[in-house]
């Protein structure tokens, strides 16, 4: 094992330790557990987006749609069908994944800005459905009248509603599973093929790789995990509203991925942490937090395009 691998392993262990202990050290530095949960949930969304953006090189600007579908899926399941958190998460994730699988064939041939434009426009369909279908989705006021349900694990029942730590650990477990699957996929021949497509699509095509199929798969996987994040986000808030589906939310995910570093596995989580804390702070300080977030976008693009981890890596290399 060379020193680089060792450093990588040490970093992994450190990140997991920090995440595991978060409910204990967060309050000590002035945070609160729900903030930590939000970082993990949005971090999962940004990492799922990065599967497509950073590792396949496909520019999606419409991930909020699948995030929101997951969120509405779990909310409507619990509200109208079965009051079960586990089933809700499953159904919400499925709804988002299936929607992505259906829309996929329409868009996988497109590239670059065109792909971005079409994905962001498609997202608006779901926004308007959620917005207009008042009787079912609650329209602009959002879907209310439901809460996350206690978790039955056979021998024990966990109250995740009133115990924020328990909910945090539920989210962390699902986060770990999702990351495990994504890391495994990225290290498999399939994941290496995705990177090959990112680096040189034409060459990949000449080698006989079914590029469109790989991009479709990557898109569906990425959207699937974003829907999972969406279900957790809805459960965290006990509430969904159409803003979870709006196109500005997609931009938030992209900036998280870029801010942390698109070329690294953990980057988007770091980006999410910075973004969530910044937004939390700004919205408590000023009514014009939107301007500051916008300014933040501009500054990141101009001065920090490689993100935190890209920046550190460059420093280390030179």
């Amino acid at each position: 094992m060379n020193s680089f691998d060792f450093n990588k392993q040490a970093a992994n262990v450190l990140v997991w330790l920090l995440l595991l202990a978060a409910p204990y050290w967060l309050p000590a530095i002035g945070g609160y557990v729900e903030l930590g949960t939000r970082v993990v949930v949005l971090g999962l969304a940004a990492m799922a987006l990065n599967f497509l953006l950073g590792y396949t090189g496909v520019l999606s600007f419409g991930h909020a749609a699948y995030f929101g579908l997951g969120a509405y899926g779990v909310g409507m399941m619990i509200r109208y069908v079965v009051p079960s958190t586990g089933l809700g998460i499953l159904v919400g994730t499925l709804v988002g994944t299936v929607a992505a699988a259906i829309i996929g064939p329409l868009i996988i041939r497109l590239r670059g800005v065109y792909f971005a434009m079409v994905t962001i426009a498609f997202g608006q369909v779901f926004y308007f459905i959620a917005f207009r279908w008042n009787s079912v989705t609650g329209g602009d006021d959002g879907l209310i009248g439901w809460t996350r349900q206690p978790l039955h694990l056979g021998f024990v029942t966990v109250d995740i509603l009133h115990n924020p730590n328990a909910f945090y650990y539920l989210v962390l477990v699902l986060f770990a599973v999702a990351l495990g699957v994504m890391a495994w996929l990225l290290h498999s021949p399939f994941g290496r093929t995705l990177i090959a497509i990112r680096e040189n699509e034409r060459r990949a095509r000449f080698l006989g790789i079914p590029v469109d199929w790989h991009i479709w798969m990557s898109w569906v996987i990425s959207c699937g995990f974003v829907s999972l994040a969406g279900t957790l986000y809805a459960l965290l808030n006990n509430f969904v509203d159409p803003r979870a589906l709006y196109w500005t939310q997609s931009g938030d995910f992209v900036i998280m991925a870029v801010l942390g570093g698109m070329r690294s596995f953990w980057g988007p989580l770091i980006g999410a942490a910075i973004y969530v804390v910044l937004q939390d702070y700004l919205s408590s300080q000023t009514e014009n937090w939107m301007s500051f977030i916008g300014l933040f976008f501009v500054l990141v693009v101009l001065f920090f395009p490689r993100g935190v981890l890209g920046f550190i890596r460059r420093r280390a290399a030179s």
């Binding site: 520019l59 329409l106 196109w247 014009n288």
Partner: protein, 288 residues
């Protein structure tokens, strides 16, 4: 019933003309510089608010002429200071940059002029119906269509008959060669951006006369403009114009039969176009 349908088709045509005007500006910038300008809606709102500020001094007609030019001037500055820095980089960065600008513009207009909607006065004689049978045919609606038609004609004249337009068209096809032939590409892109933003400003003045002033007016109009570009076909300005009018009329007709799908129908159209003809109605093969 016929009257209701006619009313909505006509209404759709007006809405479509807005979309087209905005989408043409977006298209111009996208074709030459490869930048999707999310801040276009912000420029539209600024155009409207500038007109509101100018009316007490120069009247409606003066504002209609001056406000779009001021907006375009702002566009030139924004391009020179910010947008030009991301040319040639991954399109991701131009998207994020203009995304941030869109936030700043929307929040900025809210900060300066307030969140509540403001009334916008157009001359009284423009507001009166032209015919008692077709009550919906107010002068202002007709006037908007005329202004859009004139603006589009002028745009195609500039692109087709002037030196600047020739260079823009050539640059759209091969910017490097245009640069080698001695055209200052920096200035060309700057002016092109200004031209696109001018159209947004003009659309803004017209839009607020119909919809009133509110800070979110831009962000509600930008997505349909994207759809107009995609339906019409990337890289084709006549396509963008056609796309805008088509989706406008489609949503107008949908209002009659299934009002709650008014917004969603244009995205369904987009899906159909992508399914049958991925390059859009008048788009070039293999450009994207």
């Amino acid at each position: 019933m016929t009257q209701v349908v006619l009313f909505n088709v006509f209404n759709g045509l007006i809405v479509g003309a807005f979309y087209a005007l905005m989408a043409l500006g977006l298209s111009l910038i996208l074709n030459l510089s490869g930048v999707i300008n999310f801040a276009h809606g912000g420029f539209l709102a600024i155009g409207g608010y500038l007109a509101y500020m100018l009316i007490p001094y120069v009247g409606f007609w003066g504002a209609l002429v001056v406000a779009p030019f001021l907006t375009a001037f702002l566009g030139l500055i924004v391009e020179r200071v910010l947008i030009c820095r991301v040319y040639g980089r991954d399109p991701l960065y131009s998207l994020l940059l203009t995304f941030g600008l869109a936030f700043i513009f929307e929040d900025g207009t809210r900060f300066i002029w307030g969140a509540q909607s403001l009334p916008f006065q157009v001359p009284g004689w423009l507001m009166s119906p032209l015919s008692s049978d077709y009550f919906f045919l107010t002068g202002y609606r007709l006037f908007m269509v005329v202004v859009v038609a004139v603006a589009v004609a002028a745009l195609f004249f500039i692109l087709g008959r002037t030196r600047l337009g020739m260079r823009i068209r050539a640059g759209t096809l091969d910017l490097e060669t245009v640069s080698v032939l001695g055209v200052n590409v920096r200035i060309l892109r700057n002016l092109n951006f200004g031209l696109g933003v001018y159209l947004a400003g003009l659309a803004g003045v017209l839009a607020v006369g119909q919809l009133g002033l509110q800070p979110t007016i831009g962000s509600s109009l930008i997505m349909p403009s994207f759809v107009a570009i995609i339906v019409g076909g990337l890289g084709s300005l006549p396509g963008t114009l056609l796309g805008g009018l088509l989706i406008g009329v489609a949503s107008g007709i949908t209002t009659v039969y299934f009002p709650s799908a008014t917004e969603a129908v244009i995205y369904v159209m987009m899906a159909l176009v992508l399914l049958v003809r991925p390059r859009g109605l008048l788009g070039e093969e293999g450009r994207f």
